[in-house]
Amino acid sequence: MQWDVTVKTNGEQPYSDTGNITTLEYAFPNYSYCLPRYARLDGKFENAPDKIEQGRKGYISLALSGADGEFGAKPVIEVELARKKTSNGIRLVFNQLSGDYASRVTIEWYKGEELIVEKDFLPASADYFCAVKVPLFDRFRITFHGTNKPYRYLWIGMIQNRRMTDAGGLKIVYDDIALGAKDSSVPVSDDRMDYVSMENLKEDTIEFPNHSMCLPRYARMDGSYENAPDKIVDIGYVSKSISDATGSFAVPPVIDVRFGELFSSVGITLQFNDYSQDYCSLVNIRWYQDNRLLAEKDFEPDGYLYFCYHNVDYYNRVAVTFLKTSKPFRNAFLTRIDYGLQRIFRDDEIKEIECYQEINAISEEVSINVLNFTVRSRTDIMFNFQKRQQMRLYFDEAILGVFYLQAGSRRSVTDYRMETQDAMGVLDGNQFFGGLYSGITAQDLIGQIMAGEEFDYYLDDFLQDMPIYGYLPVCTRREAMAQIAFALGAIIDTSYSLRLYIYPKQEEITGEFRKSDIFAGTVNVDHGEIVTGVRVLMHSYEPLQEQTELYKAKLTGGALVTFSEPYHTLEVTGGSISRSGDNYAYLNGTGSEVILKGKKYDHRTVTVQKENPNISRNKNVVSVEAATLVTAHNAAGVLERVYDYYTNNQSTTFRAIMAERELGQVVTVDTDFDGVKQGTVEKTSLKFSRNEITAEVTVR
């Protein structure tokens, strides 16, 4: 989320405030500094209070520039973003009142530790846009060298990154690959260098290094190749054999890949040496089911990244033979192999698209975000729809969400329809066995729920060590995540990131929808049902000694028994328990009668309630009963959150240009006719034009 930024400085005044300097514009008050030629006697400047309070004043440096306007110790502001962003440049708002500004700044943009762009700027006014296009980055650092007038502090009212525009607009990246094939693969080769780890071919991030090989015409002396380290690791596959002067091998190297199960794909993508761009110009691929040859084809790659199109179903072995290299005297290189194809659709291929994203400010429910679209394919390469294939939605190279294929269909010779859902949708299809918890950290419990899932998640530092008490029944992983989020006061959000984010509900206003952002006549202020109070049940579970029979039947082999409520001290006769928890047991039997017994818990509830003291008639009390992670430890906080949420029965819907604003952000909305409303962006239905994203927005 765009508001999840960290601003660091190398020194600032005690009253300086950089809290929301990247999203809100601050103005420094008209206090008189005693700096030369600052406080003009024209009535604009006032005496300062004895103590200037911190807050909403922006950044004011400790350093004071000298007689030449240059800083001795240069002020530096570093901004770290939780999610990667693109940039068209950075707007710097200085001291608008006095007209003072920094006369020379250097901005460096980083992606991780890598410096992507560095540029000097010479601002000429107190509101200056440092224009430069920067692809995805997650940190930038601004060094201020001097001021436009001598003896000045540096005042900054806003540092606004403007996302990249005109960078291609809408884009969907579709991984049309055989899901799980790479994880299941075991690639081997007899013809490989000693330093090669074939496991590298199961990864997605291997890049060939810029190290010098001693091959003819390989390491050009133009600074692009470096000495190699003594130990070579993680470079993918390099054959031991080297091709001859014609590029042919005496004995062609072969990579034999076996899989643990059967897979189908539209072909195989090979990435050769992505640094030198050497590739194999003739490759033979054979697909097998066990040892039965299903298909065989020669391919003639024409670049270091090549898709070998050949649709084969139900294979569990692939043999790739490298017959010829693109240049003489080369090893066969392979840095990546994908069992399928990555397709990229732009807006000229996407015919219809709907994208709905939603969060709930108290996580009483966790919605499944969806992306549905139709593409008019420009290639003859057919699709191989497989559930959970990944789609990444971008606009101007900024990520809007990651979705997983739920259903795909062909509508005509060229048109394909895809219906996808986000990670929460995937979690909704997977079971979690739950259990009783007594102080497990959020980090550990969420780790258990997400175990085995393929997507990354990010749990905010604030939430990681929060203890969780109570009970989770056997439920879907989505339901379990919703229970946790509700108990912690967290929000689960998959929008605007490659990861699933779990973060505390935002309280501070970090954005605004001005009249100019909202389409005229689209604002609707809804007044929902008036709620006068909230009732929350606190749950507790005490072990009882009373034994109950949970399973009784003749059993041969294994069986999973799940319980509708938790049990402890499980005992089995006639068989054995291979694994068990509070809500389940895996039983093994050999044909005789197996009896499973367990002891119950005493499930007690205590009600806590909060009502509006000003309303005595027509009461409407909302009751929260099934939130079994609400206990005496957290009930007070939950009650307050639910009460605050439900007693605010207003929501504002409108159509607007989204620009930098995002789901989950706390914003103000200028309704024009009903004042300025404040709330969380809970829902967006995105529409895409060539240059802009607009959305039906719900703020509550």
């Binding site: 260098m193 091959l215 015409r217 133009d222 190749y225 000495n227």
Partner: protein, 136 residues
């Protein structure tokens, strides 16, 4: 032709522009340098370690430092011209000019030795090598 005659120290920007073989560093080039070092070490009585490079080898920093130290030992053991390039702080082969300098140092040591052997002026021809009647 002796290895000293095969040293290359005239690579130019034209090589880069025309993408000639001379602007790449391969096992052939490294072996030429190693052989020149070995030859000079033999005649100057300097103990150094050399290696035979193969196409499948990586040009490692450790080996480049060994070559650099070999050259330093050879330069210290004999005379060089005032115009002889300095030994690079690190052999990186990131430019054709460094490659030129490395081989020029070796060439200069060899040339100085050839022209100063036992203080006797060098004969204008290789004694016993020319065909009779072909003297100039």
């Amino acid at each position: 032709m002796s290895v000293m005659d095969s040293l290359i120290f005239d690579r130019s920007s034209m090589d880069l522009m025309n993408d000639t073989d001379r602007c790449y560093i391969s096992c052939t080039d490294l072996n030429r340098v190693e052989q020149a070092c070995e030859y000079l070490a033999g005649i100057l009585g300097v103990a150094i370690k050399t290696k035979v490079w193969k196409m499948e080898d990586w040009r490692t920093g450790t080996e480049m430092e060994r070559i650099r130290q070999n050259i330093a030992k050879l330069k210290e053991a004999y005379f060089v011209r005032e115009s002889t390039p300095a030994i690079p702080v690190e052999i990186t082969y990131t430019s054709i000019y460094q490659a030129n300098n490395i081989e020029k140092i070796l060439k200069d040591i060899g040339d100085m030795y050839d022209s100063m052997v036992s203080g006797i002026p060098r004969l204008p021809f290789g004694l016993g090598k020319q065909v009779l009647g072909n003297r100039r």
